[in-house]
């Protein structure tokens, strides 16, 4: 290993030399400092080759110093925290950082696939479309593995992400996006008015270009001035300064998405801290001060490690005190790049020459360059480069060709304002001839743009615009604006001569470095007729890599424009969509992953059931007891059979609290129910309950359940577990929108009441032992479908319903939710002598199938009441939701599948839900489909499997045999159609 950080300057920069950090890249150890990025630390250590390119596997070096980086993508960290495609230029260095180059195989130095560049004629524009088309069978075995191996964008971690991500919401009056000179001034101007301000910047150090240039502001070095303003902002209680935070999207109504990298600069996130935090920032006004991105000039061999954006060279020298190379040349078309290079030279960089396409350059700049012993080659251009890493550069000058020996070539073709967020609502950027760049067009409402993002490249202009817009935003919101002393800084000349591509250069000239799109590819696209900018983009993949074409879009457009003879604005621009920079899926998911995807709802008796050894099942958001296995039972079927038998022969209990419960009160409650149910409720006697079916307005069944009348103006409705929220919303719609004249108030009481069902011939005896002395639960006192209020367990208020889903004598007891578990205990104690048995949803399901009741499987949203044998419930004396549409010819067609029961002809056969019905002898094809099995169960009562289903003209075919065809399980056998209702069809058990 060579001397540690040999390219580090002895002084200067914004690094902490007292805080050395060690890190590893491709297995080698290096040293950096606090304040470094991974890229600056690699350059300090002379590491110039950091990856291989996407398609041709050419060696690639660090190209930029920011979020626009197309080349230096590395895998960061290892194991479960390994993260591919991380831009080394934005990775903040930490002690112990571990990174690996990607896109190379077997090693960075020797890449077997770099032979791809000899294949480049075959991998040019449209190669995806041309090469990998035929035959289709080659895809899986040949093309896809090849593309994955060859074009792999790093490897994702193979283990679950161990870190946490969270979401947060913030509100402010003025959001300032970007903390460069314009953003700092905007935040200061708005902050001093007392407005609530959020200033967000993706960098870990506020200041933007002030940290990367040698400019004086208010008598201080730029970086010091930035720190001074940031300190004042931090001291203001109404200002929140958010570093390491990228505002990535502008959404509706002043909502902005932002990603805060809370722990990315640490080896692992701090205890109880997330790794990243996704912010939803609601801002009344926003100032976009996101700066600008430098763009290169395209020439042959421009991808060689050592070719770098000029502004990046300045950043590495000034901010990180790193010399990216020993011998530097600049190739530019504007004054700004000259100033940066002169400053780098003053800081200690050896600048050999400045090559400028312009014939005329400001004499002052030329003088300054010569004074620093820098050769000036005006009216010149780079036409070739040599070296695996850059060694020499060929330049065409007005006096002929010459070769420069340099290891670093700084390039500047001008700057492109970061207009991205202004496009997020569909705004199109507009071309500004003076700076040869797109500037913001129509911005989202409430957003203004200041500084370089607005095309105002002068430092003075940035400070002035920022201050003006910050003040204006606060003033528009009614905050009094105190005077602000804006630092006076000279606006330097930009003096750009548009120049995009050295057409006569030699070798592959890359436009999009990340996706390996060359100037020649743009030419091919043009020749083949792909001239629209959207076609160009998709055909060549220009701008479609993870860097979203930050450094290549405008250049690609310009080259296409020159080929078509149209202007750049005529050629167009592609639209920018969120996110501005990539956002990890982990951050978008936040805590909503795995078991935390949504909250799990537990019944009031959950703990009690767990103590009974229950196996739980997810039903919607709920966890319900599915069955209660006992020692020695060999499978769930044995357990469920025992539970069913216990209920049918003695007594069992189940928590039914998950049903939706809705309280309805008011003089019109009865007539309201008449309008939402197909059957009548206004005539229901107080103290009685009734089963009801409600339809959607299109005539299909929406839900079913029982509703009890507790008083003249008081009803309690139950809904199915799954539809509780939907039915409630529907009822509110009916009341508020359809019939506001009805005097009814409703409230969801699902959470407030626990409800436990007891069923079986001994259930009355059990109930009698838990109710208080004054409650009569005899057959006369509480007859079938009775509903009364009373007290249980010595004074606990309760609602008692004599209802049955199982077909047995049964009751449901509702108590305030906090008494639910105690009620279960009390019922267990009361039923001990009868062997009371807790049962779960499986046994409940078995008994309702034995009884022939419809449930969720039958209420599929595609069934009408008539289909389910419930048509006769429908009242003909009133209107109700869905009545008219339920009468459509299609829904009353007798050929529709109707609800019937099924038994296997060979009784030992197991029925399967989902099997389709075919007439005997019919070919198994869609045209012959006669419906399907909706529910099946093993009936302990009958000793064989039974099923429910929907069969074409089913009710007319009782006794007929059909085939149950189940290609998924490879089964097919005969079943016998029967009436739904396999036990006690007369309902004697219920009424006893």
């Amino acid at each position: 290993m060579s001397r540690p950080d040999k390219n580090r300057l002895a002084s200067g920069g914004l690094i902490d030399r007292a805080a050395p950090l060690s890190f590893r890249f491709d297995g080698h150890s290096y040293r950096g400092y606090a304040g470094d990025t991974l890229a600056s630390a690699l350059l300090a250590n002379g590491v110039r080759l950091v990856g291989r390119s996407f398609k041709y596997h050419r060696p690639r070096g660090i190209f930029s110093a920011g979020a626009e980086e197309p080349n230096a993508l590395v895998e960061l960290r290892s194991g479960a925290r390994r993260e591919p495609n991380t831009r080394a230029t934005v990775v903040e260095l930490f002690d112990g950082l571990e990174a690996t180059s990607q896109n190379r195989w077997p090693s960075l130095g020797l890449d077997v696939l770099s032979v791809n560049r000899f294949l480049s004629p075959f991998l040019g524009a449209g190669f995806y479309y041309k090469t990998f088309m035929w035959p289709a069978s080659f895809w899986e075995k040949l093309y896809e593995p090849f593309i994955r191996r060859a074009a792999g964008l790093g490897r994702a971690a193979e283990e679950a992400d161990p870190d946490h991500y969270e979401k947060a919401t913030a509100f402010c009056d003025v959001l300032v996006i970007g903390a460069g000179p314009a953003g700092l001034m905007a935040a200061l101007a708005a902050g001093r008015t007392g407005a609530r301000v959020i200033l967000a910047d993706e960098d870990f150090l506020p200041g933007g270009r002030l940290n990367a240039e040698r400019r004086e502001v208010h008598g201080r070095a730029g970086a010091a001035y930035a720190a001074h303003v940031a300190a004042e902002l931090a001291s203001l209680p109404n200002v929140r300064l958010m570093t390491r935070t990228t505002v990535f999207g502008a959404y509706d109504s002043g909502t902005y998405g932002a990603l805060e990298r809370v722990g990315d600069h640490l080896p692992v996130p701090a205890p109880f801290q997330p790794r990243q935090r996704l912010w939803r920032i609601i801002a009344r006004r926003a100032v976009l001060a996101a700066g600008a991105t430098e763009r290169p000039i395209v020439f042959g061999g421009n991808d060689r490690p050592g070719v770098m954006l000029a502004g990046a060279v300045g950043t590495y020298v000034q901010r990180h005190a790193v010399l990216p190379g020993r011998h530097i040349a600049l190739f530019a078309n504007n004054d700004d790049a000259w100033r940066g290079m002169l400053a780098a030279s003053e800081a200690g960089a050896r600048v050999e020459a400045i090559i400028d396409v312009r014939e005329e350059v400001s004499p002052a700049l030329v003088e300054a360059a010569r004074a620093r012993d820098i050769r000036v080659l005006a009216g010149s251009r780079v036409i070739a480069t040599q070296g695996r890493k850059l060694r020499t550069v060929d330049v065409a000058t007005p006096r002929g060709r010459e070769q420069l020996v340099v290891d670093t070539l700084a390039v500047s073709g001008g700057w492109s304002p970061a207009v991205h967020l202004t496009c997020h609502h569909g705004g199109r950027p507009v071309w500004n001839e003076a700076i040869a760049a797109f500037v913001p067009g129509a911005s989202p409402a409430g957003l203004t743009v200041a500084g370089a993002a607005n095309g105002s490249f002068g430092l003075g202009a940035a400070l002035r615009e920022g201050a003006a817009q910050g003040a204006e935003a606060a003033e528009a919101l009614g905050f009094p604006v105190p005077p602000l002393d804006v630092p006076a800084v000279e606006d330097e000349a930009f003096a750009l001569q548009p120049f995009w591509h050295v057409a006569d250069s030699k070798g592959a000239a890359f436009v999009d470095l990340q996706n390996d799109v060359t100037a020649k590819d743009v030419g091919i696209a043009h020749k083949e007729g792909f001239r629209s900018v959207e076609h160009l983009k998709r055909y060549t993949t220009l701008g479609m890599a993870t860097d979203q074409g930050r450094t290549s879009n405008v250049t690609g457009l310009a080259i296409m424009a020159s080929l078509t003879g149209a202007s750049i604005p005529e050629t167009g621009t592609t639209i920018f969509r969120p996110p501005y920079t990539p956002v990890s899926l982990g951050a978008l998911a936040g805590h909503h992953r795995g078991k935390d995807f949504r909250p799990v709802r537990l019944t009031p008796t959950h703990e009690w059931a767990a103590r009974q050894g229950a196996v739980f099942v997810e039903t919607g958001a709920w966890l319900r007891a599915q069955y209660f296995p006992r020692k020695g039972e060999k499978d769930w079927l044995e357990t469920v059979t025992r539970e069913v038998t216990a209920v049918r022969s003695s007594v069992g209990l189940i928590d039914v609290s998950t049903f939706g419960k809705i309280d309805l009160q008011g003089p019109d409650a009865g007539s309201f129910l008449d309008r939402v149910y197909i059957n009548g409720f206004s005539a229901l006697a107080v103290g009685k309950a009734r089963y009801g079916v409600m339809l959607r307005e299109d005539g299909m069944v929406m839900d079913d359940g029982t509703t009890a009348r507790l008083g003249p103006e008081h009803y309690v409705m139950t809904t199915t577990t799954a539809n509780a929220a939907k039915v409630y919303q529907h009822l509110e719609f009916c009341l508020q929108v359809l019939w506001p004249e009805l005097d009814v108030a409703i409230a969801s009481i699902s959470e407030q009441w626990a409800q436990i069902a007891i069923a079986g011939p001994r259930s009355r005896e059990v109930l009698a032992r838990v109710v208080d002395a004054d409650v009569d639960v005899s057959n006369e006192g509480l007859p079938f479908i009775g509903a009364v209020e009373g007290r249980v367990m010595g004074g606990v208020k309760a609602r008692l319903f004599r209802l049955s889903f199982s077909g047995e004598l049964g009751y449901e007891i509702a108590v305030p939710a906090r008494h639910g578990a105690a009620l279960a205990e009390a019922l267990m104690a009361a039923g001990e002598e009868f062997g009371i048995t807790p049962y779960g949803t499986e046994a409940l399901g078995v008994m309702r199938i034995e009884k022939g009741h419809v449930s969720g499987n039958e209420l599929s949203g595609q069934t009408a009441a008539r289909d389910l044998g419930l048509g006769r419930m429908a009242s003909t004396k009133k209107d109700y939701i869905g009545r008219v549409m339920a009468g459509r010819p299609g829904l009353v067609d007798p050929a529709r599948p109707g609800f019937v029961g099924f038994r296997p002809v060979e009784r030992a056969r197991r029925l399967r839900a989902g099997a389709h019905f075919l007439s005997l002898g019919a070919k198994p094809e869609t045209a012959n489909d006669e419906g399907y099995m909706t529910s099946v169960a093993y009936s302990p009562h009958l000793g064989h499997w039974i099923g429910l289903g929907l069969l074409v003209r089913g009710p007319e075919r009782i006794g007929e045999r059909v085939r149950a065809y189940d290609p998924v399980r490879g089964e097919e056998f005969e079943v016998e159609v029967c009436a739904p209702g396999f036990i006690d069809p007369e309902g004697e058990r219920l009424r006893g």
Binding site: D252, T255, F733, D879, V884
Partner: protein, 95 residues
């Protein structure tokens, strides 16, 4: 998107669920004889036919995670700009 609930104030759209066209009126079943096919036609239109305007759209949003009120919102479908909102029970002009 943020919806100005007349009851709760401005809230994020995630708190609401969407229903659609708020200008539709449920046909009056008493106005026409139940067997009349005109009634079926009116219900067909009410249930299935929707305009899809590029511009102002008056629509129902239910503030499920808030006041549980149905809110009549006038939204520009091109840019989600909300011109006004009123409660269903106050049939005022939302725009």
């Amino acid at each position: 998107m943020r919806i100005p609930c007349p009851y709760c104030g401005e809230r994020d759209a995630h708190e609401f669920s969407y229903l659609g066209d708020a200008t539709l009126v449920r046909p009056d079943p008493a106005a026409v004889d139940a067997q009349d096919s005109a009634l079926a036609d009116r219900f067909h239109d009410y249930v299935y036919l929707r305009d899809n305007p590029a511009g102002a759209h008056r629509e129902w949003w239910y503030h499920a995670n808030g006041c549980r009120q149905w809110v009549r919102v006038t939204r520009d479908t091109r840019n989600h700009a909300i011109a006004g909102a009123s409660l269903a029970r106050e049939p005022g002009d939302a725009a």
